[in-house]
């Protein structure tokens, strides 16, 4: 099968509407960033408390939000995670000393809203040692003979069953009958000594504001250094103007991706920055493939001006540009669809970035080369004060290499 065989689209002739689209997208992103006062940073970058809490039944966001805002000063956000009974609870932290207290307040509030029992052990989320301590004595008193080593092993099996098979929460204690080695007596003691909590804190992140600030600077620097690295490498392998064009295209991709994050109110987390840096490297690939072909065509001394050569090169490489990008895009989409909550932002950045990156190597990087050649030609014409033959300066230089 072959798509895009012998295509002959006039990319450079139709560049203006698409450059217009690029500018529009970039502007929309920048406006959105300006309106929202910069990107929405995730907890890694701004500091704060973040808890993912899973509930046995659909929780009331409103009730929890009200209960929390009564006890916590400042912003409290309670957001339902789509398609689950999970809530994401997030608060801001002003100072380093609030770090532990805020988190404790959230857990205490949850416990009071869901009236946790103080007398019995909460089986949901109970650590192995606690469960063992809790049932060991009653088992002995009840005359149930079980070797200490076996009991410890059983406790580990029970928790493995709870966490790996049941996602951390049981619907009722009788489900535990499926655990290998479980006996009715042990099950009875567990029922007697513990209760099934209605919620489970699955993930806690507490980050101080100072750590966040440092990381923000580091992320920005890493991105700039990576762009600088690209400029130097492509500049050395090709010519400076190629490096410049490629970096402008990648910068364009990054700005649009960050802009879209802002438009969709998505948070920039540490993994999103990882995705952005990966994109800096990956968007480069398509651009390099096109540039390679432009250079090859120039070296062969093909006729025509720069616009024709760029157009032909883009058409010749169109099939591979589209193929490589869509295959990588496929894996990014797979991560986006099936990768779960934690990878969502990361995968979204990749999907957007790969798409924009492919387009920008054709409609941003390549036109810059044409503009540059036109500019150099005009300057050459002016200095020679007369219509010289339209020789492409870069072509000469490269052919000599």
């Amino acid at each position: 099968m072959e798509l895009f065989r012998d295509t002959n689209f006039d990319f450079m002739g139709n560049k203006w509407p698409l450059i217009g689209l690029s500018l529009l997208l970039t502007a929309a992103g920048l406006v959105s960033l300006a309106v929202n006062g910069g990107p929405t940073y995730g907890i890694d970058f701004k500091g704060g408390t973040l808890l993912y809490v899973k509930f046995a039944e659909k929780p009331s966001e409103e009730a929890i939000r009200t209960a929390l805002s009564r006890k916590i000063k400042g912003e409290v956000s309670v957001v339902a995670v789509q398609g689950t009974n999970e809530l994401m609870i997030q608060t801001e932290i002003k100072g380093e000393q609030e770090l532990q207290s805020t988190r404790q307040t959230i857990e205490d509030t949850l416990a009071s809203v869901y009236s946790a029992s103080a007398d019995k052990l909460n089986f949901t989320g109970a650590p192995a040692q606690r469960l063992y301590d809790r049932i060991n004595l009653p088992l002995q008193k009840g005359g149930v003979f079980i070797a200490d080593e076996d009991l410890r092993k059983l406790v580990v099996e029970i928790l493995k069953f709870r966490d790996k098979q049941k996602g951390g929460m049981l619907a009722n204690f009788d489900e535990l009958s499926a655990v290998p080695g479980m006996t009715p007596q042990v099950l009875n003691v567990i029922k007697q000594e513990s209760y099934l909590g209605k919620y489970l804190v699955r993930n806690t992140e507490v980050v101080g504001p100072r750590v966040g600030n440092e990381l923000r600077t580091k992320a920005l620097l890493a991105t700039l250094y990576a762009l600088g690295g690209m400029l130097i490498y492509v500049g050395l392998r090709f010519e400076f103007v190629y490096g410049f064009a490629a970096v402008i295209a990648v910068f364009h991709d990054t700005i649009i991706t960050i802009g879209l994050f802002s438009l969709f109110h998505k948070e920039i987390s540490l993994t999103v920055v990882a995705a952005l840096l990966t994109l800096v490297g990956y968007s480069m690939n398509d651009t390099i493939v096109v540039f390679d072909r432009i250079r090859e065509n120039l070296q062969r001394g093909r006729k025509g001006d720069m616009t024709d050569i760029v157009n032909r090169s883009v058409n010749e490489t169109l099939s591979r540009t589209i193929m490589t990008s869509s295959l990588t895009l496929l894996t990014a989409v797979a991560l986006w669809l099936f990768g779960g909550q934690v990878l969502n932002g990361f995968a979204f950045a990749l999907v957007v970035g790969i798409t924009v990156g492919t387009y920008s190597s054709i409609f941003v990087a390549s036109p810059i080369l044409v503009f540059w050649q036109d500019f150099m030609k005009k300057r050459g014409d002016n200095s020679r004060a007369g219509g010289a033959t339209p020789v492409v300066p870069a072509a000469k230089k490269l052919a000599a290499k």
């Binding site: 770090l99 790996k164 993930n203 990576a226 493939v289 591979r320 894996t331 669809l337 934690v342 990878l343």
Partner: protein, 536 residues
């Protein structure tokens, strides 16, 4: 078939076998296969569940303690030299940054003895600078090099103490390491994969565990004011006030110097009090300390002894008779608390208090979900890529698929051989590597198609395709590796895992897409001399 081709095939088979061995070893049955896999591929705490903490050492505590010690020693030295001093005092730095600003103020040194005093300080306290503030007053400041040394020492000994506490808990896979420079950022990163009770561990790590036994001068008093009133506002020389533990306020006046400190302990265990079945932490003193303690208790029968933990009087029993080498600390709520206290006492005290800057805890059920989601998305991605390759490049798609699978195998094997930890971003890195790896195949195949179209023979087209695409592939790989390298330098642990997978994946890709794929084509062509068509 040519001999060189056989050698190449042999190389590929050998690499594949070494990689598979690295991942699953030589399993005898299915259970061993799974076991070996789990042993070789270490999961990060975001997949396994666990806790990661960042502690900040409040180094100013160590500076204050050092200054207090210097004051005590100075007083003795000065007294021995027959200098009648006025007063010693120190300031109170409250932040890490201002710790070096510690200053000891000495007032009222007799003018006749100024020379002697200077001599004592410069000879006996070389870490401190002495400056005169007025005729008979001085200030002592810690020297810059000594301050640096003290900071480093404080962080290093905090790390040692925390390590031994974690070892005491039996958390085998944990790691404790310094983060940032000890001079400017006294931070400690603790990673504990598989931990299921982080709240308890946080408590254990934060306990200063400073145990001291004092002679009680007076007390208990119901409040600090009551105590001060009894002495008309001026406490007797050589004593210090200390709060008692418990909901009801109580105060004791203790002799300033402790009889026994935590350093004198030989061992410590939780045990049950025979009187009321409550849990206590009992301790045993070292030989030298028990001699001192024996003499002290013998001389002070019927007086009270204060057992002080972290600047709080735990209990103040009356000495009934001579005690030599053991004692107990009461007040534990349950067995675990008594056990934990015994553990921290055994591990030793922290030289300065610590606060938590960061905490990340992933529950085991979330980790299990993440593994599942990572696997599903990976499989979906691979299946989609393989299908497209087979449809688009027909039989050559099989070639690419083999290269792709080998790419993934090498990547996973390298992670196992390097002992790298697999994190969720790492899994994403593997999935993404597959998408990027196939790019090289596409570049080569498209080039081959182009060469075929220009009328070259199959063999020539393949050779030209590989050699022409090679430079482009190098270029694209270098840019990707460069940006991953910056990611590695910038990254926190999880992001580093992602960067490492990406870099290894790209390097392995050079081998699979360029070398392996070419060998497969060569092998296909080696049978018949005149191939006229290529399924591509």
């Amino acid at each position: 078939m040519e001999r060189s081709l056989w050698i190449k095939i042999g190389t590929i088979v050998a690499v594949t076998l070494i990689c598979i061995y690295g991942i699953v070893g030589i399993p005898k049955n299915q259970k061993e296969l799974v076991d070996n896999f789990e042993k070789n591929i270490k999961l990060g705490l975001d997949l396994k569940g666990g806790s990661q903490l960042v502690l900040q050492v409040q180094v100013q505590d160590a500076f204050k303690a050092e200054a207090d010690q210097v004051i005590d020693r100075l007083k003795t030295e000065v007294k021995t030299a027959g200098i009648d001093y006025g007063s010693f005092d120190r300031n109170e730095p409250t932040t890490i940054e201002t710790a070096d600003k510690i200053e000891i103020a000495v007032k009222g040194v007799p003018s006749a003895k100024l020379g002697d005093f200077r001599k004592i300080v410069t000879e006996r306290f070389p870490d401190w600078n002495l400056t005169s503030t007025s005729g008979t007053d001085f200030k002592l400041n810690i020297k810059t090099t000594s301050a640096l040394e003290l900071r480093k020492k404080t962080v290093a000994s905090s790390i040692r103490t925390i390590e031994s506490r974690i070892d005491g808990l039996g958390l085998a896979e944990s790691s404790v390491q310094q983060r940032g420079a000890a001079e400017t950022e006294p931070e400690i990163l603790i990673q504990m994969p598989g931990v299921d009770d982080p709240a308890r561990i946080k408590q254990i790590l934060q306990t200063a565990a400073l145990l001291e036994l004092y002679e009680v001068q007076e007390g208990p008093f119901a409040s600090r004011d009551q105590m001060m009133n009894q002495f008309n506002g001026i406490l007797p020389m050589g004593t210090k006030p200390m709060r008692g533990m418990g909901t009801q306020e109580s105060w004791f006046l203790l002799k300033r110097a402790p009889v026994i400190t935590g350093r004198d302990l030989r061992d410590s265990r939780a045990s049950q009090d025979s009187m009321n079945n409550s849990w206590v932490t009992s301790f045993v003193l070292s030989q030298d300390a028990s001699r001192r303690f024996g003499a002290f208790t013998e001389a002070n029968v019927n007086k009270r002894l204060a057992i002080v933990l972290d600047n709080q009087v735990r209990s103040a029993p009356t000495i009934q008779s001579k005690i030599t080498d053991n004692g107990q600390i009461t007040g534990a709520a349950n067995q675990q608390e008594a056990n934990d206290l015994a553990l921290v006492l055994r591990a030793g005290s922290l030289p300065a208090s610590v606060i938590y800057l960061e905490e990340r805890t992933v529950g085991p059920s979330l980790g299990a979900d993440s593994i599942r989601e990572g696997l599903y998305s990976g499989l979906a991605g691979v299946v989609a890529v393989v299908l497209v390759m087979l449809v688009y490049y027909k039989k050559s798609g099989i070639n690419a698929t083999i290269a792709l699978i080998l790419n993934a195998v090498i990547l996973i094997a390298m992670l196992a051989y390097f002992g790298a930890t697999l994190t969720l971003p790492g899994i994403a890195g593997i999935v993404l590597t597959i998408g990027m790896a196939v790019d090289s195949n596409v570049l080569i195949f498209e080039r081959i198609r182009e060469e075929l179209r220009s009328g070259k023979s199959v063999r020539a087209a393949i050779d030209a395709g590989f050699s022409r695409a090679f430079l482009t592939i190098i270029d694209t790989h270098v840019t990707a590796v460069v940006s991953s390298a910056f990611l590695f330098i910038f990254g926190t642990t999880n992001v580093k895992g992602f960067a490492v997978t990406l870099i290894i994946g790209l390097l392995a890709n050079l081998f699979t897409a360029v070398f392996v794929s070419k060998v497969i084509f060569d092998w296909e062509l080696s049978g018949n001399k005149k191939v006229t068509t290529l399924s591509i």
